[in-house]
């Protein structure tokens, strides 16, 4: 009966995927249906990596880089050697609603995307500052750190965009013009992180186990070939069904709780804080 509207087939709709909130697969699919108008644009032409939870989030999920067996022929894929995985991967590319809903039906709760597009896979069009608070630091610290990063980017004349990671962290994104290498974007993020780490105890720019605890680590290595970040508006496999949610900068302040953005609340947000993100391509100062 669904064929009239989508090529995707829906199965096991009653299956509970988030046991704590008793959220079924039907509700997950409904979420992706409703969020699609905002989600599809940033996702377009990017290889996607999935984390699937066919038996719900309290059972082991699995990470899936390749398009799974039985992928319908109408789903676009992209074959490329991955330096991180050290082998050729047949990625799924999600360019339309049908593919998104097919993924939702696979219980691919988490969708992760690359920072470059298929037509220029070797060069990134997005730069990410992945702010990861190391316990006992929490989202409060991540928010404080994000505002410091923004301040610095503002001073450099760069327009940045922000989203929750859906967990404790925040992601700050810079859309850039074509032509930079991952090495250049990585070094750019590292340079700014190092500068900020010198200014404040709050931020750590290097991953060493001994001194990052209680700090917000900026994982500049995320800016690498084949690496992925959680897609804007992707669900997370967390008990509260949180969503990696694009925000307006004015919302990022003390008291913001990333856990409030979940399957139920995010679809009620009318505005689209990342509107125009991909048209706002900027130049970076690199060495």
């Amino acid at each position: 009966m669904s064929e009239r509207f989508t090529k995707a087939e829906f199965t096991n709709l009653d299956k509970v995927l988030y046991p704590e909130l008793r959220i079924t697969k039907a509700q997950v699919i409904e979420y992706y249906i409703k969020i699609a108008p905002k989600m599809l644009n940033p996702l377009a032409n990017r290889p996607i990596v999935l984390t699937r939870f066919p038996n719900g989030i309290d059972k082991e999920g699995f990470y899936e880089k390749d398009a799974p067996l039985g992928t319908p022929s109408w789903v676009e894929t992209f074959k490329r050697y991955s330096e991180t995985a050290r082998r050729e991967i047949n990625y799924v590319v999600c360019n339309n609603l049908d593919t998104l809903l097919w993924l939702a039906n696979l219980a691919a709760l988490e969708m992760h995307m690359t920072l470059s597009k298929v037509d220029s896979f070797e060069t990134p069009d997005l730069v990410v500052f992945d702010l990861d608070p190391k316990p006992p630091a929490d989202y409060h610290e991540a928010i404080e750190a994000a505002l410091l990063v923004k301040e610095k980017l503002d001073a450099l004349g760069l327009v940045s965009y922000v989203k929750t990671s859906g967990k404790k962290g925040l992601h700050i994104i810079l859309p850039i013009i074509q032509g930079y290498t991952f090495k250049q974007t990585r070094e750019f993020v590292q340079r700014i992180s190092k500068y900020l780490a010198k200014q404040t105890q709050l931020i750590a720019a290097e991953r060493s186990k001994s001194n990052t605890s209680g700090k917000v680590y900026i994982d500049y290595v995320q800016n690498s070939h084949g690496r992925t970040m959680i897609c804007p508006y992707s669900l997370r496999a967390t008990p509260l069904a949180t969503v990696s949610t694009p925000l307006e900068w004015i919302e990022v302040k003390k008291g913001l709780n990333p856990e409030e953005f979940n399957l139920y609340s995010v679809v009620k947000i009318a505005k689209n804080p990342w509107k125009g993100l991909l048209d706002n391509k900027q130049k970076l100062e690199t060495k």
Binding site: M1, S2, F5, T6, F10, L13, D14, T24, A26, Q27, I29, E30, I33, K34, A36, P37, L40, K59, E60, F62, Y63, E64, D66, P68, L69, T84, A85, L97, L101, P135, P136, A137, Q201, L202, N211, S213, G214, K215
Partner: protein, 267 residues
């Protein structure tokens, strides 16, 4: 002393290790009993349609099929998705051997270790001869001291504290220093201001006014109590109203889908 009833029977069964406490040349033969019982509410997962319990299976991410034990190796994640594998033989060779000893290094004031380091406690009982045991217990009790040392339990080595509790020796395994975060690494803690004298006096007064004896039995797990109450009702056949999932979800999805298709067309 023998414990009466069910608890006693279970504790006699619960011997998990036997060996000696070694203090220099002195040996105290002991047995180690389970002391901590997790009584939080647990649920089994059942197949909704036939009520059968479910089992876990290891599924290969790439082939999407169940992998038998003999085809499984352990991988240490060096970086995300990058692994170094170990065979069971390699791991076994690296593991410490249990030498059936609790080696005591020194005696300390019991209160000089912060509870943040306490991991898990076990009851020690005398094995064969109880004289040495009684002597060690009495000495620790009289002097308010505890012994620190180490033990290898199964395949892991732990720092331990041997102390007296309710007329027995108790062994508590400790966490390693690197497993406990230092609060001084937090800016908020480092930057705490000294309170003013008047404020501190007032605070002290409140502490004195609210001082009392600690009784752990005053604290209850309310979730556990509620579940136990529900279990009681369910077994008595009283109905419990569970919100029913609407069977119409597929229809609802189609309604949402039409709305989204309309929006996408507008773009």
């Amino acid at each position: 002393m023998r414990m009466a009833g069910k608890e006693g029977a279970r504790m006699r069964r619960g011997i998990i290790w036997s060996g000696t406490i070694t203090i220099g040349l002195v040996n105290v033969p002991v047995k180690l009993h389970t002391m901590i019982f997790d009584k939080s509410v647990t649920f089994r997962f059942l197949h909704k349609t036939d009520g059968s319990p479910l089992k876990y299976q290891k599924v290969c991410i790439k082939e999407d099929k169940v992998i038998p034990w003999e085809d499984i190796v352990k991988g240490y994640e060096v970086r995300k998705d990058e692994f170094i594998t170990f065979t069971n033989e390699e791991l076994k060779a690296a593991r410490p051997e249990s030498d059936q000893r609790i080696r005591i290094d020194k005696f300390i004031d019991y209160l000089s270790i912060d509870p943040a380091y306490f991991d898990k406690s076990y009851i020690l009982t005398p094995d064969k001869d109880s004289d040495a045991y009684s002597l060690l217990l009495a000495a620790l009790e009289k002097m308010g001291k505890a012994a620190v040392g180490k033990i290898t339990l199964r395949t892991k080595e732990y720092p331990v504290l041997v102390h007296s509790y309710n007329g027995a020796l108790v062994l508590t395994t400790l966490r390693y220093a690197y497993e406990v975060a230092d609060p001084r690494k937090l800016e908020e803690i480092r930057e705490l201001k000294e309170p003013k004298k008047e404020e501190l006096d007032l605070a002290k007064k409140i502490v004195v006014d609210l001082s009392g004896e600690f009784d752990i039995t005053e604290y209850k797990d309310t979730f556990k109590e509620k579940i136990e109450e529900l279990v009681g009702k369910k077994t008595k056949g009283e109905t419990i109203i569970v919100e029913k999932a609407v069977k119409e979800e597929a229809k609802e999805l189609m309604v949402a889908l039409q709305e989204t298709l309309k929006q996408l067309k507008k773009k």
